[in-house]
């Protein structure tokens, strides 16, 4: 089951590379749809009460190296894999029908999808690194071939940064396996070695720091973020969705899976520092976004801010905050994908992304009314308005982090106010205002072009109103994660405090 999720896109990519050009889009769409369907099937087989890995698969591979093919899924990887399958579908559906070199494009997108699925599902550290590196070159090509003017610069910057990130992670994993004396790179083996105190705390902190830097580049966190604005802006909208929506989640996923879960004790040592870095990212991203003139760049910087919330939540490590972190990863993926998609639509129809030129798109006759309305929904979801999916994740992050790190949590609340500031700037300039008579009559957005944004908007609404559908999958896993962490001092108070008076339910 899990292997299918990895190899279906991979083999599909090979198939598409050889199929006729005019069929390539449909073939890619069929594979992505099948993949999405299989992921939904996975939900039906997932056991909510179980805390550990489920549906595990195992094949011996290179035992002498310690490399085994071991897969598994838990409450942390399941929602992210679902996001991956969904966004791959959106990317393929939402890409331009007359795109250059379609076979290469669709094949590369599918390879990225398969690689990310592999990274989320693999239970062997070396296998994770393999999958982590697999998507590197395809994304480089996706930016470098289909990007805009400065695509070469952006693609190369992305490549260098991510290669360093991969090298650091590999180094960390090698050191970890060597020093802990584990027999293989299997996650479980290493985890048990660490928990049985075979590794001094100082060494743990050192290894954790190496891994953290590696994942921080991918996430990205300030000050290792400068590849992001260039890469997101220069990439075509579907590739930007791929990058921001899921590839960046590898970083936060790695932080939780290979940081918090693997090194619970060392994690609590570095947690206060991480909270500070997280808040710095949140504020930095939000403030920089305010002064941007290019709407795509603005959205890109907003992404830095929103990933900072995940770090703050992971650092706090309470049950609520971790659940909020997982929720935030998924909701950020959905919202960012929607925003990038809409920005792409606006760019194609209006021909500019410049805030000083855009105006009055909400105009019902000559503008892009539905696109603008959806942009308002996306922006407000990102700003954390209740009833949309962004709110509940952010709220859980704030509420969960507050007992451990009160000041960072409150600063995060403040930053969500700044988020509102730049989205209001974005909407006031783009959607509101008077439509210029000279440039009016933009090409209509066809129904087909609206579909991706409508699907995402529906999900954003639905999960905002029914957040348990977002959070129920991860709850037992994140609770188990918290249990392994040494309890921090403040947290004791909180656990005593949150004892709710049980509510009598009237008949």
């Amino acid at each position: 089951m899990l292997s299918t999720l990895i190899w279906l896109p991979m083999l599909g990519a090979a198939l598409i590379a050889f199929c006729p050009i005019r069929l390539s889009r449909w073939a890619a769409l069929a594979i992505a749809s099948l993949n999405l369907f299989l992921t939904l099937l996975l939900f039906s087989q997932f056991d909510l009460s179980q805390t550990g890995m489920q549906l595990s698969e195992y094949l011996p591979w290179l035992d002498s190296l310690g490399l085994t093919y071991r897969l598994g899924v838990d409450g942390l990887s399941l929602p992210l894999q679902a996001l991956n399958s969904l966004l791959i579908w959106i990317v393929i559906y939402g890409s331009d029908q007359k795109i250059d070199r379609p076979r290469l494009f669709y094949a590369l997108v599918l390879i990225v999808g398969g690689g990310i699925a592999g990274a989320f599902l693999s239970q062997n550290l070396l296998l994770f690194v393999l999958f982590y590196e697999v998507e590197l070159i395809p994304i480089y090509l996706l930016i470098a071939i289909w990007g805009s003017a400065r695509r070469d610069y952006a693609a190369m910057k992305f490549l260098i940064y991510t290669a360093i990130s991969g090298a650091l992670i590999l180094a960390g994993f090698l050191g970890l396996t060597q020093l802990s004396g584990a027999s293989s790179f299997d996650y479980a083996a290493i985890s048990s070695q660490i928990s049985s105190q075979n590794l001094p705390l100082n060494t743990q902190v050192l290894l954790l720091t190496i891994l953290l830097i590696g994942f921080a580049i991918k996430t990205p966190l300030v000050p290792l973020h400068t590849w992001l604005p260039d890469a997101y802006v220069e990439a075509s909208p579907p590739v930007a969705i791929l990058l921001g929506g899921i590839v960046a989640k590898l970083g936060t996923y790695g932080l939780v899976r290979f940081g918090l879960q693997l090194f619970p004790e060392a994690w609590s040592v570095v947690a206060p520092g991480l909270a500070v870095i997280g808040v710095a990212s949140v504020l930095y991203g939000a403030l920089t976004a305010i002064s941007q003139q290019d709407i795509k760049r603005m959205v890109a910087y907003s992404s830095i801010g929103h990933m900072g919330y995940v770090l703050v939540a992971a650092a706090a490590g309470t049950q609520l905050s971790l659940l909020g972190a997982v929720g935030q990863m998924v909701s950020h993926g959905l919202i960012l994908a929607m925003l990038f998609y809409l920005v792409g639509v606006i760019e194609t129809k209006v021909g500019t992304r410049d805030l000083s030129k855009l105006n009055g798109l909400l105009n019902p006759i000559r503008g892009l009314p539905l696109t603008s309305a959806l942009l308002v929904v996306g922006g407000m979801a990102s700003a954390g308005i209740p009833g949309l999916v962004g709110f509940i994740s952010e709220f859980l992050v704030f509420q969960g982090s507050f007992p451990v790190f009160p000041i960072p949590a409150l600063l995060c609340v403040l930053a969500s106010g700044l988020t509102a500031v730049y989205f209001v700037i974005l909407m006031n300039r783009t959607c509101f205002g008077k439509l210029d008579n000279d440039t009016a009559y933009y090409p209509k957005v066809t129904g087909r072009e609206q579909v991706p944004a409508l699907v995402l908007a529906a999900l954003i609404f639905f999960l905002g109103v029914q957040p348990s559908w977002l959070l129920r999958w991860s709850e037992s896993t994140t609770n188990a994660l918290t249990a392994s962490l040494p309890i921090m001092e403040n947290q004791v108070e909180q656990q005593v405090a949150i004892v709710y008076p049980s509510l009598p339910v009237q008949q």
């Binding site: 400068t226 920089t288 509101f432 709710y500 009237q506």
Partner: protein, 610 residues
């Protein structure tokens, strides 16, 4: 039957919510086929259903003890978010007031927006507000109230921005959103910080907790101050009052509801939170302080405005300031009564003003005049509105203000003087508007200004009737004091202050003894009031400027320092490569020389070490 009505009272907010969705279905493409009107009619029907349901539920809940309904929403990681609804005479009565005013407001809007095409957006947002407010009064949990308030903040942004192609509308919508959101975020901070202290967000449990709570005074003061920030934004209190005035750029029918019931949402939160706020004397003093500054300041600014809508918006701030004082001094009931009487009277005043704006060329009070003979219904509505607003027996506000002043007399008597002052100033300000618009001779701008059509006149007259009958309703609710308990001196003082305000206003603005436009002896003070204490300018010079500068600096740092260092690395690497490439120039001799040199170096190193 009664039980069914009560148990299903949660449907009351659901009808308008359905209206929101149904109205929003009129996309531009559908509007082109059917015209915009069905979107409004659908909504009107839904509001009517909500009103009827509320009305029947009110009679069912009469004299019954309060009931609670629970709806589980989210239960994760020891955090139980269950939506509790409280069904009592008070809450159901509040929904009736909200839906009733909405019903009248929407009929009015159908008349007012006769020529408009944005019905779908407008009515769907009106219904969103109605749903949100109904849910707010029924909801018994601080957390869910916060959620509703935040959604309404977004609603304000969109509703003010309905006519989005005018630049003043755009800035008004922006300011409304941001100032309210600042308040909301502080409220959120308070909400988050309160949970570890109290362990609950349910208002009922919070009140129980507050009786025995033993918390650090500093902490509870900070939490309390954060909690009142939300209501400050909603009730347009200083310094977050700016938005209400700018929101006047939105369509007028939404102003009817904004000035009457939407601002009251903040006051409602205060009533619910009163036991928690009372834990900290600093918070209570802050409430009184904010309320005092806003009520006097608002009443004064209102007098200096010439835009007919703005004259009313500042009076709203002033009255909400009185409500803040009421909560800050523990006179919650008087505050509630004031909110009710203010809502009816203010809605009536806005309707009357709206009818003038609708078919007059100008909305500048100095350009109008002499409309009494042309628009008797609007004029009468305005007069009754004044009477309902200021303390004039036997109408609503008299009893509310009397109760408030009575309560203040025993604790903080200086505040009684403040109440009298605000009442007098409001009387003066409203009389001024009436005299300038309806009195005197018609100026050129007011020459062609006939009475409005029935769609606007009917809701206005109905509301006029309600305002006049409010004392009877209060009587039947046993909310009026018995004659024997009446504090007659206080009542006289209040009546005198109202009369003084009205008479002076009439003398100045109806008579010819004072030259128009009226110049206040202190020019600086007049300018200060006209420009709303220069609040907009202050904001621009402080917060807006600060955020702007900081964001630019960080952007600069990002571009030239953080990214610059990275690019420098790249540049140095490239430069090094470029430089080193000259070392491979392809001459066999030089390669041989390098090899020989290398061998010598290696040999030297090897022989040296032992």
């Amino acid at each position: 039957m009664n039980q069914i009505l009560l148990q299903s009272v949660w449907l009351v907010p659901c009808y308008p919510l359905a209206g929101t969705v149904l109205s929003a279905l009129w996309f531009p493409s559908i509007t082109r086929l059917t015209g915009p009107r069905p979107a409004g009619y659908v909504n009107l029907l839904m509001t009517f259903l909500a009103f009827l349901h509320g009305l029947f539920a009110l009679s069912a809940t009469w004299g019954q003890p309060a009931q609670e309904l629970f709806f589980p929403w989210l239960n994760v990681a020891n955090l139980d978010l269950t939506l509790p609804l409280q069904i009592s005479t008070l809450t159901v009565g509040a929904t009736v007031v909200i839906t009733g005013l909405n019903l009248l407001g929407q009929i009015y809007a159908i008349g007012y927006l006769e020529m408009d095409w944005g019905w779908a957006r407008f009515f769907s947002l009106m219904a969103l507000f109605e749903a949100g407010l109904c849910a707010l009064v029924l909801c018994d949990s601080l957390f869910f109230c916060y959620m509703i308030l935040e959604i309404l903040t977004l609603g304000t942004y969109l509703l003010v921005g309905v006519w989005f192609n005018q630049s003043l509308v755009v800035t008004g919508a922006r300011d409304a959103f941001l100032t309210k959101r600042i308040g909301d975020l502080f409220l959120l901070m308070g909400v988050i910080a309160l949970l570890p202290l109290a362990g609950t967000w349910n208002f009922g449990d919070l009140a129980v907790w507050a009786q025995t709570a033993n918390v650090d005074p500093v902490v509870i003061t900070l939490v309390g101050l954060a909690l009142i920030a939300g209501p400050m934004g909603k009730c347009a209190q200083f310094p977050l009052h700016l938005w209400l005035d700018e929101a006047m750029e939105g369509p007028l029918p939404s102003t009817i509801l904004r000035n009457s019931v939407v601002v009251a949402s903040g006051a409602w939160m205060l009533f619910k939170l009163a036991p928690v706020l009372a834990l900290s004397p600093v918070v209570m003093s802050a409430l009184v302080g904010i309320g005092a500054v806003t009520s006097v300041g608002g009443a004064l600014i209102a007098i200096a405005q010439i835009d007919i809508k703005r004259t009313l918006s500042y009076s709203v701030s002033a009255y909400m300031g009185l409500v803040f004082i009421a909560v800050g001094t523990g006179n919650t009931e008087a505050g509630l009564l004031l909110v009710l009487s203010h809502a009816l009277a203010m809605a009536l005043l806005v309707m009357s003003v709206g009818s003038v704006i609708w078919n007059s060329i100008s909305q500048d009070v100095t350009q109008l005049g002499g409309l009494w003979s042309r628009r008797p219904i609007s004029g009468l509505a305005f007069l009754v509105g004044i009477a309902g607003m200021v303390s004039l027996p036997p109408l609503g506000s008299f009893w509310a203000l009397l109760k408030l002043a009575d309560g203040l007399w025993t604790s903080q008597s200086w505040l009684v003087g403040l109440v009298l002052l605000v009442n007098g100033l409001t009387a003066f300000s409203l009389t001024r508007v009436f005299s300038l618009v309806f009195g005197g001779k018609a100026k050129p701008m007011a020459q062609r200004s006939p009475e409005i059509h029935w769609l606007m006149a009917v809701p206005m007259t109905l509301l006029l009737g309600f305002t006049l009958h409010l004392p009877l309703i209060l009587q039947s609710l046993n909310l009026l004091p018995a004659w024997a308990d009446l504090n007659k001196e206080m009542a006289l003082l209040l009546v005198w202050s109202s009369l003084a305000g009205c008479v002076v206003g009439a003398i100045v603005y109806l008579g010819n003894s004072v030259p128009k436009p009226v110049q206040f002896p202190l020019k600086g003070l007049q300018d200060l009031l006209t420009h709303d204490f220069y609040t907009a300018k202050l904001y621009r010079l402080s917060i807006v400027f600060g955020v702007n500068i900081v964001s630019r600096i960080i952007d600069w740092v990002d571009r030239y320092i953080v990214d610059g260092i990275v690019n420098l690395f790249g540049f140095v690497t490239l430069l090094a490569g470029q430089g080193l490439k000259y070392s491979t120039f392809g001459q066999a001799q030089s390669y041989a020389l390098t090899i020989v040199f290398g061998m010598f170096l290696v040999g030297w190193l090897m022989t040296r070490s032992p």
